[in-house]
């Protein structure tokens, strides 16, 4: 029997993202280095060639996102990793991936912004940008990581969701999560579930690249596999060619959204900690969720019935879970390293007049447990 210590490895959040990506079957990475995401590129440039994958450092983030889309269309699971300034540049092609329904994973390790901002400091400033950064009324999935083991499992989940729903998935990490090293035992290959996109089973002459089915997710033929395929950023018909037909447009737009909303149960992931009898709760995500966990434990020691709702999925916003804790608790505290980007979502869901308290830190420092505890004691 292997002892616990030998199966555990010391890994950084960024390194765990790489392990997760490789375990999920990622075999293509295109990117441009940027602090605090560079370790992801660095490690993948070594590891991808070892498993027969491809690593390309592109001239910038616009091209990186383009290359990721191209590789995915060719049937290869693809990803990129960046931080705020690079994420800005990726937005145009990200929209293309949404409309062309190209599975791909984008890791945004958040640092202080706007602009070049605070390159080496953590932040959660890109939350709403991850949801709405590219134009048009698009559905997208955004997941948040808070620990090293999270970085591994959430990256796998991101690829699985992306493949299943043919949608770009954004992983929001931050400088603290990315650079924290922890000794972790990663699950072996047989403990990991990997989802692959479904290839068409019809003969090539019957294939409609954007044909509807009961899943709302068209079967996806890899380019070069013998199926005719047309890809465009214009709104298209079932064959993938541009259309101006209002009926076809409406059908397409609604399907894009409905394929995601049908999967809410699986997509919207949260973690409830000590919530059973909680009267006050903290709603948090990312590295701040760890501070919150410490704070609720301390509050419990002081006799306060506190709980934590940790959001893993930020978008589509897990409204059902949030609604239920807002009904249960007198007060909800929402600490964030921004001016309240998830707090506004929580407020939107709040149907019961539950008191919502914002706590915002935007000085480039991680929110401490003491800061959150102060609110828990006060309310």
């Amino acid at each position: 029997m292997k002892s616990e210590s030998t199966s555990r490895v010391l890994l950084q959040g960024n390194e765990a993202v790489v392990m997760g990506a490789l375990a999920a079957g990622c075999r293509f990475f295109a990117g441009y280095p940027i602090t605090p995401a560079s370790e992801i590129s660095e490690l993948l440039s070594l590891r991808l060639p070892e498993v027969g994958g491809t690593f390309i450092q592109m001239e910038d983030e616009i091209a990186s996102m383009g290359a990721v889309i191209g590789a995915s269309l060719a049937g290869v699971k693809s990803m990129t990793a960046t931080s705020g300034p690079g994420f800005s540049l990726m937005q145009e092609n990200l929209g293309y991936a949404c409309v062309a329904e190209v599975p791909c994973v984008i890791v945004n390790v958040m640092r202080g912004g706007p602009s070049t901002g605070l390159p080496t400091s953590p932040s959660q400033g890109d939350v709403q940008m991850a949801r709405w950064g590219t134009h048009g009324d698009h559905p997208i999935i955004v997941l948040a990581t808070s620990s090293v083991s999270d970085c591994f499992s959430i990256t796998i989940r991101a690829f699985n969701l992306s493949e299943k729903y043919r949608v770009p998935v954004i992983i929001l990490s931050d400088e603290v999560v990315a650079h924290t090293r922890e000794s972790v035992a990663l699950p072996g290959p047989d403990e990991i579930r990997v989802v692959d996109r479904i290839a068409p089973s019809v003969p090539p002459e019957w294939y409609k690249p954007y044909g509807t089915n009961n899943r709302g997710v068209p079967d996806m033929a890899a380019m070069g596999s013998g199926y005719r395929h047309h890809v465009t950023g214009l709104i298209h018909d079932e064959k993938g060619f541009p259309t101006q037909n209002p009926k076809e447009i409406d059908q397409f737009q609604r399907r894009l959204h409905e394929k995601i909303s049908k999967g809410f149960g699986e997509i919207q992931v949260i973690k409830s900690i000590m919530m059973e009898d909680a009267e006050v709760c903290v709603i948090a995500y990312g590295s701040v969720a760890r501070s919150a966990l410490r704070a609720i434990k301390e509050a419990r020691n002081q006799g306060i019935k506190a709980g934590l709702l940790q959001l893993i999925t930020l978008f589509p916003f897990p409204r059902k879970a949030v609604d239920s804790v807002l009904r249960q608790c007198r007060v909800a505290i929402v600490p964030e390293m921004n001016m309240g980007q998830i707090c506004r979502e929580v407020a939107r869901v709040n149907q019961t007049g539950t008191r919502i308290v914002k706590h915002n830190r935007v000085d480039g420092q991680l929110i401490t447990p003491e800061e959150i505890l102060k609110y828990l004691v006060k309310v």
């Binding site: 924290t180 922890e182 000794s183 447990p369 003491e370």
Partner: protein
């Protein structure tokens, strides 16, 4: 706010002194031990050299929630600026460890001063490994790590060809710290006469 078995170490100095490397090796060594949880974080400025550099290692018998240090058990300061900036984060029974030549004004008597950089220079001809001399001392003084494990973790992370130099430096730090009797120090960093 610290009620469980956390032990918190902060390595501090300026960029280029190998502060983060020392912390990573420490964390790696602790992580190899059974039933020990470890979390290592760091903060640094945008510049490659100079500027303040700090790295933390939190050690516990249970999974670690908040990853950063809250009240420090051991502060290693490799510059005066780092010592001044972080001294007040040490808990009263904590320990300050400084480089004798680089921190000339030590703010407490509950301090261990060892000339890490001088030892590194005299022993190997290179100041570069002062961080490993310091790591050896921190490893011993903290009592949180098996010293053999520290050596193993170090060998895994140093560039080829520098193993001997790094290993010598680590051992020198352990030896130097071994000469120190912590029971002779005052019990609190805050006040030397608190025990009277």
């Amino acid at each position: 706010m610290k009620n469980d078995q956390r032990y918190e170490i902060r390595f501090s100095g300026s960029g280029g002194q190998g502060i983060i490397t020392a912390a990573v090796v420490m964390a790696d060594a602790v992580g190899r031990q059974n039933n020990r949880y470890v979390c290592q974080t760091q903060s640094y400025g945008p510049e490659a050299r100079g500027g303040k550099s700090k790295a933390e290692v939190v050690i516990s018998d249970s999974p670690i929630d908040y990853p950063k240090a809250m009240s420090i058990d051991l502060l290693l300061a490799m510059t005066q600026a780092a010592c001044d900036a972080y001294f007040f984060d040490i808990r009263p029974e904590g320990l300050l460890v400084v480089d004798t030549d680089l921190v000339e004004q030590v703010p407490t008597s509950r301090a261990v001063t060892i000339p890490f950089t001088r030892i590194a220079r005299e022993l190997t001809g290179k100041e570069l490994v002062a961080n490993m001399v310091a790591l050896g001392a921190v490893g011993l003084l903290s009592g949180q790590v098996e010293l053999a494990g520290l050596e193993t973790a170090l060998m895994k992370r140093v560039p080829k060809g520098t193993e001997k130099m790094n290993s010598l430096a680590l051992q020198a730090g352990i030896d130097e710290a071994g000469k120190i009797d912590l029971s002779l120090l005052p019990r609190s960093v805050v006040s030397d006469w608190a025990d009277d």
